[in-house]
Amino acid sequence: MKLITAIIKPFKLDDVRESLSEIGIYGLTVTEVKGFGRQKGHTELYRGAEYVVDFLPKVKIETAVDDERLDEAVEAIIKAANTGKIGDGKIFITNIEQTIRIRTGETGPDAL
């Protein structure tokens, strides 16, 4: 089992969600985060005092998938989240030791 962590531009969330459900992946956890890589921030002005805001709002999506479905899931995310501009984000893949469904106690891939 693999955990896919994708940091994407906030306005791409709906596209990514749709793209994943099209291939039958429905479970997602979404967090609002801020960060930056190479994308520059913006400035704000308040009564003559300028602030450079480095951190940009992003959305973090986490979804756990079976090993066999990893590649198609990643491809779906990239296809939906890509704009071709700096700041599109990154995907990290980590290994999941164990998954448990709280309601029934099922473990392993059945719990995904």
């Binding site: 308040y46 009564r47 003559g48």
Partner: protein
Amino acid sequence: MLKTLLSIFFLSLFPLISFAADEPTVNGANTSWVLTSTALVLFMTLPGLALFYGGLVKSRNVLSILMQCFAIAGIASIFWLVVGYSLAFSGDGAFVGNFSKMMFNGVTEGSVAGDIPESLFALFQMTFAVITPALIIGGFAERIKFSSVLLFTILWLAFVYAPITHWVWGGGWLQEMGLLDFAGGTVVHITAGVAALVTAIMIGPRKSFVRGNTAPHNMTMTITGAGMLWVGWFGFNGGSALAANGDAAMAMLVTHISAATGAITWMCYEWKKYGKPTALGSVTGMVAGLGTITPASGFVGPAGALVIGFLAGVICFNATLMIKQKFKIDDSLDVFPVHGVGGMLGTFLAGIFASTQLGLFSGQGFATGIESMGAQVGVQLVGIVSTFVYTAIATFLIFKVVGMITNGVRVSDDEESQGLDLVDHNERGYEL
């Protein structure tokens, strides 16, 4: 039978007769308007100024601002009852009143001030005594101890606000001299502005100011408060006519023109200088316009108000930048450059635009006994300088004393990082 009827008839007239004898000279229309204005001015503080200021600080300090406004409303009101009104408006002293009206002694249902009830006059003035210390909190926001605010408010009202009110409106020396200050350019704006500047310098900058990150946490709150200030100011200046007549209407009109002009001026100036007009800039320009027209509102005409609003926008804009960038003083909510400078500018301009010789830009004339613009402007300058100097010195001493009694006026570094809402009030503004 007839005798009985006649006696009943005459007896029934008694209540009418005593009623009329109790209130012979109260003008109903004037009273209605000042009653309304009183509510409008209180509304300016609660929640107008509270929201305006509240949105400008960090979210962890929002309650401290709201709390200070409410607490000051309470404390200032009690102070006004106990001794403030008396010190400001009684007696024949040149510099301060006496204690004859302590606890509103002599202020009954029937007593009058001019042709409105004295209780109303005292209450109307009370709302001014509330908003003035509330304005000052912008100078030491986000780092002041709550106890220090309360003690400061009481001492400052006693030793700065009440005396200066007496000088300008209570029969004191500036009034005798013919100072034109319709609704509080000196009494409210210069005093509050200077006090904020002095206390800001004394307490030192916020850590966030030094770090360069003092951005407002809730601009929508600030803009909401600003709208309330614009509307409420109609009572502040309009009500100061103490009458429901052409004077009040003109005061309200010029107030509005100056607000609109100040807002647009600041907006355009910012647009030109930085490339984009901002919401904060527009409402700050509005406040500058309002503060500046305040002393002049009963004496100038609409065209004069246009000029006054424009100058307010330009001059207060530059004053704000100068205080922040050149002098690096953390007057956190820009009380001095907007209210202080605006008050000084407006008091000065009142001397000019009161003139009846300016064609379209004429006003309603100088003070009784003053014949020339030069003479009037001279009096205005005396008013400005004396208010400035006295306030600065007295505020310095008062803040020092407060610091001694409250064991310092500033919270610790850690407390400042945690936020005043938790540290001073054990509360959080938002539970998101």
